[in-house]
């Protein structure tokens, strides 16, 4: 009978061992330098960048949240301000109207007073004028009368006598 072929897998051959170590070690060093190092670095970089991006996204989200609340605050504040402004404007308007009314009243009063004063003045002026005119008239009348009474010498001496009497009395 044909006997077994030699079962050489359980009999380690030095040559095969030698080649295994040579091939494996050179593959290890070459791949490590040319491929695995750069690949591991690229993977690490990507992982880091993803982590970074996630962290930044978290920060951005937080910021967004803050911004939103801030916005809301601003908005409510603006709303308040608007209503306050409106109220103020209304108040102011009514105040202005009231002021205008008062002013108008005052003015009207003043104008009235002025007018009264003027009227009074005019009146006084007129009266004075009338008085003056009356005086003048009286003087003229007196003149005329005097001219008529003093037309003789006796009358003139009588008068002078009277005037002289008056001066002594004083």
């Amino acid at each position: 009978m044909v006997l077994l072929a030699e079962f050489n897998v359980i009999k380690p051959d030095f040559g095969l061992f030698f080649w295994t170590v040579i091939i494996f070690v050179s593959l290890w060093f070459f791949l490590g330098k040319k491929a695995i190092g750069p690949i591991a670095k690229a993977l690490k970089e990507r992982e880091d960048s993803i982590n970074d991006a996630l962290a930044q996204a978290d920060i951005a989200r937080e910021e967004m949240k803050n911004l939103r609340s801030e916005n809301e605050q601003l908005l409510s504040k603006a709303r308040e301000e608007r209503s306050a402004l409106l109220k103020e404007a209304k108040d102011q308007a009514s105040q202005i109207v009231a002021e205008a009314k008062n002013k108008a009243k005052e003015e009207a009063g003043r104008i009235l007073a002025n007018a009264n004063l003027e009227i009074e003045n005019q009146k006084k002026q007129a009266i004075t004028e009338v008085k003056n005119q009356a005086g003048l008239l009286a003087v003229q009348v007196a003149e005329t009368v005097l001219k008529k009474q003093l037309s003789n010498d006796q009358a003139q001496i009588d008068l002078a006598q009277t005037l002289a009497n008056d001066i002594k009395l004083n």
Binding site: E6, F7, G15, S26, L27, L43
Partner: protein
């Protein structure tokens, strides 16, 4: 650490392509094995018939077929008498370096400088055999005192062949040939170089964008090694040992998978050879012990935290552990892969046993009907085993290195 798996959506088209590729291989394997072994079987038949000259020729020797497949050999056997010649590099003290292509041996029908090829393996004839190129007859195998010897009858004289070169046998020569396994390892290394350089270039070109297609598949595996092996076992020292771990994982995985593909230039039982697993385990052994710090050696020779008698008791055990750990790596990988190859070859051999080596078509059909589904099933299991064993070898290496380089906890 953030898991980046979410970025690894393999597009459907790639996934389906991969699936069909794997399915194709699995469907092809039994068929190719079938053809190959049928052819090989005829060869052994013919040889045994002409040499022994009686009716035993039709005998099918399954063990022989299996061993021929899983053995390392100096030529790459394809089918029948066709094999790819491989360079033989032999060294002996008397003759120095001898180099020739294995085709010079003419499948064992010629001797050169007393070297002959027996069942695809280079062996040597004793010193009284003439040197140079000599035509020889068939080499016969006999069992003497329970030990198998190979004998050559040449010009009326009987020459007993030396054993094949190995660490266990003291031979007058060493075999540094580019054997089937060395050739396959070189092929695996070339394949890995091509893949890794292209992946590395991809990272350079894409910048920070995620890869797609095959590069994505590679990234999943590389990330798996980083996240599940390197970081848990080595902590923050992982970057230093990452090239070793990744090379280790992918080299073993590629060799395992190449063994599952049944046609040239694959099909060699690479990681199912003790010399190869020994080479890989020795590298781990060297890294562990050369990188081991004081803390590591202290834990071996003077275990802290236990009473003195216990320290003395533990020291030899821990010291043996230094060697047992890589030894277990070596045996585990070898046994798993060899077992897988033997089971698949046995299942395929069933076809020939049932068919009585071509005499009974019905038997062969029945055998095939039985063997093909089982072989398919075994191939799926072997596919998983190939991944698991590469992973286990790597994670254990990482844990040994991690334990050796860990600083003491205070």
């Amino acid at each position: 650490m953030t898991k980046l798996y979410a970025f690894h959506n393999i597009p459907f088209s790639v996934a389906s392509k991969l699936f069909f590729f794997i399915a194709f291989i699995f469907f092809l394997l039994p068929v190719a094995n079938f053809a190959q072994d049928m052819a090989h079987n005829h060869q052994t038949e013919a040889v045994s018939e002409e040499s022994e000259g009686h009716e035993k020729g039709k005998e099918f020797n399954m063990e022989n077929m299996i061993f021929n497949h899983i053995n390392n050999s100096n030529e790459f056997h394809l089918f029948g008498h066709v094999s790819i010649p491989l360079p033989c590099i032999l060294y002996s003290k008397e003759d120095g370096l001898t180099m020739f292509m294995s085709s010079k041996m003419d499948h064992g029908h010629k001797a050169f400088n007393r070297y002959v090829m027996d069942e695809g393996i280079i062996k040597r004839l004793p010193a009284d055999f003439p040197g140079g190129e000599v035509n020889i007859g068939h080499i016969e195998h006999e069992k003497v005192n329970g030990e198998e010897i190979a004998v050559l009858h040449h010009e009326g004289k009987e020459y007993q062949l030396e054993k094949a070169s190995s660490m266990l046998a003291f031979t007058s020569f060493f075999d540094f040939s580019i054997t089937k396994n060395v050739f396959s390892m070189l092929l695996a290394a070339a394949l890995l170089l091509f893949i890794f350089l292209s992946v590395s270039k991809g990272y350079k070109n894409r910048g920070r964008k995620a890869p797609s297609g095959f590069h994505n598949l590679m990234e999943i595996m590389i990330n798996f090694i980083i996240d599940e092996v390197a970081k848990p076992m080595l902590g923050d020292r992982y970057m230093k040992y990452l090239p070793f771990l990744i090379t280790n994982f992918f080299f073993i995985l590629t060799c395992n998978l190449m063994g599952l593909i049944p046609f040239f230039p694959f099909s060699a039982n690479i990681t199912g050879n003790l010399a190869i697993t020994m080479g890989l385990a020795i590298v781990t052994f060297l890294i562990t012990n050369l990188q081991g710090n004081g803390n590591y050696w202290k834990h071996i020779f003077w275990m802290p935290g236990v009473p003195v008698p216990m320290k003395i008791f533990l020291a030899p055990i821990e010291f043996l552990g230094i060697f047992i750990k890589p030894f277990s790596l070596m045996i585990r990988l070898f046994a798993n892969i060899t077992a897988g190859h033997i089971i698949i070859m046995s299942l395929v051999g069933l076809i020939f046993v049932f068919g009585n080596v071509g005499e009974s078509i019905g038997g062969a059909t029945a055998g095939a009907a039985l063997a093909v589904p089982f072989t398919l099933f075994m191939n799926l299991i072997e596919f998983v085993v190939a991944l698991i064993q590469a992973f286990i070898f790597t994670i254990l290496s990482a844990s040994y290195i991690g334990a050796a380089t860990e600083e003491a906890h205070h």
